[in-house]
Symmetry: C2
Subunit: 394 residues, 2 copies
Amino acid sequence: MINEKSLAWGRSKSCIRELAGYASARKAEIGIENVFDFSIGNPSVPAPPQVNDTIRALLDNTDSTMLHGYTPAPGLPSLRKAIADDLNKRYDANIIPEMVYVCCGAAAGLCSSIRALLCDGDEVIAFAPFFAEYTVFTEAACGRLLSVPPMDDMQPDISALESAITEKTKILIINTPNNPSGVLLTEDSLNKIADVMRKAQEKYGHSIYLLSDEPYRELVFDGVSTKSATRFYDNTIICYSFSKSLSLPGERIGYVAVSSTMAERQDIFDAICGAARGYGYVNAPSLMQRVVENCMGLTSDISAYKRNRDILYKGLSDCGFDCIKPDGAFYLFVKSPEPDAKAFSERAKKYELMLVPGDDFGVKGYVRLAYCVSEKTIVDSMPSFKKLAEEYGL
Amino acid sequence: MINEKSLAWGRSKSCIRELAGYASARKAEIGIENVFDFSIGNPSVPAPPQVNDTIRALLDNTDSTMLHGYTPAPGLPSLRKAIADDLNKRYDANIIPEMVYVCCGAAAGLCSSIRALLCDGDEVIAFAPFFAEYTVFTEAACGRLLSVPPMDDMQPDISALESAITEKTKILIINTPNNPSGVLLTEDSLNKIADVMRKAQEKYGHSIYLLSDEPYRELVFDGVSTKSATRFYDNTIICYSFSKSLSLPGERIGYVAVSSTMAERQDIFDAICGAARGYGYVNAPSLMQRVVENCMGLTSDISAYKRNRDILYKGLSDCGFDCIKPDGAFYLFVKSPEPDAKAFSERAKKYELMLVPGDDFGVKGYVRLAYCVSEKTIVDSMPSFKKLAEEYGL
């Protein structure tokens, strides 16, 4: 007699949360330094000092009713302009301030955008591996999510995309750098995706939207970078969060930006605002709006993640594990030495290694390691990985 | 080809926002001191000093990755306990910490609760006058909102409620003290509402939930107070926001509390968590969770609102206007001297008085004055009200 979907979402525990819970219990039992917890994607690097300095200055210099008061629903005008300027400067992104909607993190932006776009019977496509919440967000908007399997290097399989797109397709979600693989979509992949989508739009006679989920955008190593997705495809919507770049995941601050190259941009923007209103989003947290405006373009110390990646990738490869080399984010995707990644994850627990099975991300036979941990944890974990590898005869 | 409902919500401008926009333009034109802007319910009293002091202390003493990091989805355990303790101590409310879900303001709590409870074809009832967003929140959850007209004193019409409840009714929303009338539901009204609901539950053989929207709970004058709604009716869910009590409306922090007297409380709580997940709420802003925990039970200077009420109520009554005396909140509901409140609101603009027509709140023939303004604004507005009254021959 209550909403069955909501109940199911509330009851279903994600693999990640379960493993993290187990890890916490083990830490209490045997000591935090003896558990190698790669379960959770919580930034391990502090926010840049400018974040807390900005908060202090705001407390000293801003009237309380202003500082903590309502902002316009789409965000402070000065922040919307700062976001557009930053996107255009760094990524050549075609964004005007009027098409920026500041929101409570990328999740809020994704949910509002999906709800804004979907009509009865519409479908969303995501490239596996993908963030499991995409399925929940789509179902909450009464849509259906289809998954397209990846190539061996975790770049999207373009011909599989061609077969998956139908007249019901309204949205394609990309996530680059990717959670859980750390892989960055190449310009070649982006061009091919855009081609397939343009052809499909023509064939079916309606718009298909590219939802570019970019919370890890700044966490890119080796100087690899791409232009904004808006430069590859007109009907693009960017969803961004400051969670990872500024290490503020709990503060819930991000934005949606609708490309100015989109013909129906005003309708789409209005519908996103309306969907957010219907979900109860009044405005993004007001103090944090001012903080991110003052910290635009800054990041926390990304080099720590690169060091972690280098040690972990080399270490695990040397042990004989087959790893996807991450271009960014703070995840490593490792092939399970046995077909069942869940069984592999269970066996790793014997060595206090907490590895998330990739099944929840829509890919079987892999585990995800979140290496947003201390360098010491990674170094100390190596003997355990060695033993685990030996157990598999690698 | 996009979601029509979302587009409509994004495009429809509320009367309040339109009038506030007009007021801003007038202020720029003729000077802020010459416009008497009663349009918006934004607290005019600063947050208590403990709010900013707590933020400073947190910045100095808490690790950044902890302070700004993810919290558990339903909120910090210590905060959930502090909320339950506070509700039980001050309102004898029957709440256990496990039934507290900390969320991004009352709007998020209302939306998540409505979505959690509604199945296909279910209806929500609200007593007019009511906050216009209830309609949007209900429609976003694919439900239908019905309005029950008030008695002359703005207490609910119990026999009208009896006629409105059907087998489709799943939720009754109450809002006390009320936006826009400032009226507090009496214990007698609460008892009668509970009786009607219990009878309806028995008659239709399913639960009907009381959603008690209480953002103005602490803004009560003249020592009037009631026990918690949970003491009147078992199937009660409290939705609360710290927006008004602590003058933090932009920070988006509040909670949902499910009564421990509810038989299906665990299912309902899980479904609320699930609905929030589907809407993209990850956790309530982490810094503010710690702030409200440290400021539990405090309020900003409520006496300022009482002074404003007294001056405004007496002043307008002396002019000959027929006013509902508010017990709390910071709204005064005034009967329009002509049947069309919109026409009255238009005429008031001649005297730079910004009064919101009550039509958007589901009651015709009234205007709402938000008196969360400076005392000076109220005193200075009196000559204008006098002229307006004279124009109507009051």
